[in-house]
């Protein structure tokens, strides 16, 4: 009997620190599998953010750095410039990337740094206990929008792919979701593309994962996926925003 699916080599044998049903784990797996498939493990490295995935540096079985909140793209820039022979990614949440780290992601993208950014959008600050994120949906209740996000007062969710897509340099930008198995399979393809481009030194690649936070949404894992499909997807539409690697690909 042949093994057709098992823990990838690039994941260390430690339990994730995530809550039951949190899709951070799936995003990790997709990256690890792809690193294995592309044979990148020996020159791979990544940057963990501050957020629930802060411990990502413990989970991947290659050298890793942990960055200050929001600064992963700057840290990755320093890393890639210091050792261009290595392949570098960042892994960031929506608070990390779209709030405090706005300047760093915009400018890393604008410079076209040769890194891959994996952005997990769960519309909330998970780690700190469910505060509002820039991606929190209008009307959504969080511990810092206890009466629901009031778009008239504090605006609408930030769509990061759309925003980065106004820049010239990025090579590949796609939004995927982790809300069902078929979508996870699609997401895997996106990760493969991003890391392949990364391997080939094409430029800046960016994947947004629409994900869940069962704990802070107060929903069980299965309902969380349903909720995200109904509420997040209409606002954060999956799709390829930019792919300089395909003929006819946007831009």
């Amino acid at each position: 009997m042949a093994i057709i699916a098992k823990r990838p080599d690039s994941l260390r044998e430690v339990s994730f620190t995530y809550c039951p049903g949190c899709m951070h784990g799936v995003a990790h797996r997709l990256i690890a599998e792809t690193v294995d498939e592309l044979g990148l493990k020996n020159q791979m490295t990544g940057v963990a953010p501050v957020g629930c995935s802060v411990f990502a540096y413990k989970f991947f079985d290659f050298d890793m750095a942990q960055a200050a909140h929001g600064r992963a793209p700057a840290v990755a820039t320093g890393m890639k410039r210091a050792r261009p022979e290595m392949n570098v990614f960042t892994y960031q949440g929506d608070g990390d990337l779209a709030a405090i780290g706005t300047a760093e992601i915009v400018h890393a993208a604008n410079r076209g740094e040769h890194i891959s950014v994996f952005f997990v959008n769960n519309a909330i600050y998970g780690m700190t206990g469910g505060q509002m994120a820039p991606t929190t949906l209008p009307g959504m209740k969080t511990t810092t929008s206890p009466y629901g996000r009031d778009a008239n007062d504090i605006g609408y969710p930030v769509r990061v792919c759309e925003l980065l897509n106004t820049l010239e340099a990025p090579y590949y930008i796609e939004r995927v979701s982790l809300l069902s198995v078929p979508e996870i399979i699609k997401a895997k393809k996106a990760v493969q593309k991003a890391l392949t481009y990364n391997k080939e030194g094409r430029g800046f690649t960016f994947i947004e994962f629409v994900s869940t936070c069962p704990t802070n949404w107060g929903l069980d894992p299965v309902k969380s996926q349903q909720w995200a499909k109904e509420n997040m997807i209409p606002f954060f539409k999956p799709g390829v925003f930019r792919d300089k690697g395909t003929e006819g690909g946007q831009k």
């Binding site: 620190t17 809550c19 039951p20 629930c52 780690m127 704990t215």
Partner: protein, 178 residues
């Protein structure tokens, strides 16, 4: 008189609330109190615990290293805090989630299947109230009436049913400890 306590269990079992009810009632009875939770990411799936001090005089350190009273709602809690309970102290153990109870000499134990009992009462969530009942019966930290008043004023209009269940659970605990 100063009593130091630790209440501990999985997140969601209500260990922190035990502390809160006891502190609140003791405060109503004119005591000085402090309530200090453990916090942080280890809460997730791990063990949540709280240190409570009730005292007639000003409370200096709110950090409890050697409790007089300890409630262990699960095995890791018992393993972690059981050994540091003071001589002549009290340990309340939730038998259902503590398969492995090794009793220390000179420490009073109440070992009861809290999950089972609370299910019998009709609501999983009152598990922690049983533990409080045990403490009320075994010690004079707080009076039943104080807590009952407190719960009544808080719950009567909002959820009379839950109030009844809670009071039943406390009484059940008191019985158990007799």
């Amino acid at each position: 008189m100063k009593s130091e306590m630790i209440f501990s269990g999985f997140g969601g079992q209500g260990a922190l609330a035990i502390g809160k009810f006891i502190a609140q009632s003791a405060m109503s009875e004119g005591k000085n109190v402090s309530w200090l939770p453990s916090y942080g990411p280890e809460m997730r799936g791990g063990t949540a615990n709280v240190s409570v001090v009730v005292s007639d005089t000003e409370i200096a350190s709110p950090v409890v290293s050697f409790p007089h009273i300890m409630v262990a709602l699960n095995q890791p809690s018992l393993d972690k805090f059981g050994p540091s309970v003071k001589a002549n102290g009290l340990i309340v153990v939730n038998e259902d989630l503590c398969p492995n109870v090794v009793k220390r000499d000179g420490v009073d134990y109440v070992v009861a299947p809290l999950n089972k009992i609370s299910k019998e009462i009709g609501d999983d969530k009152v598990l922690n109230m049983i533990a409080i009942g045990i403490i009320i019966e075994k010690t004079n930290i707080i009076k039943y009436d104080t807590l009952a008043d407190h719960l009544t004023s808080f719950l009567k209009d909002r959820n009379a049913e839950l109030l009844a269940l809670n009071l039943e659970a406390i009484k059940k605990g008191m019985e158990l400890a007799r």
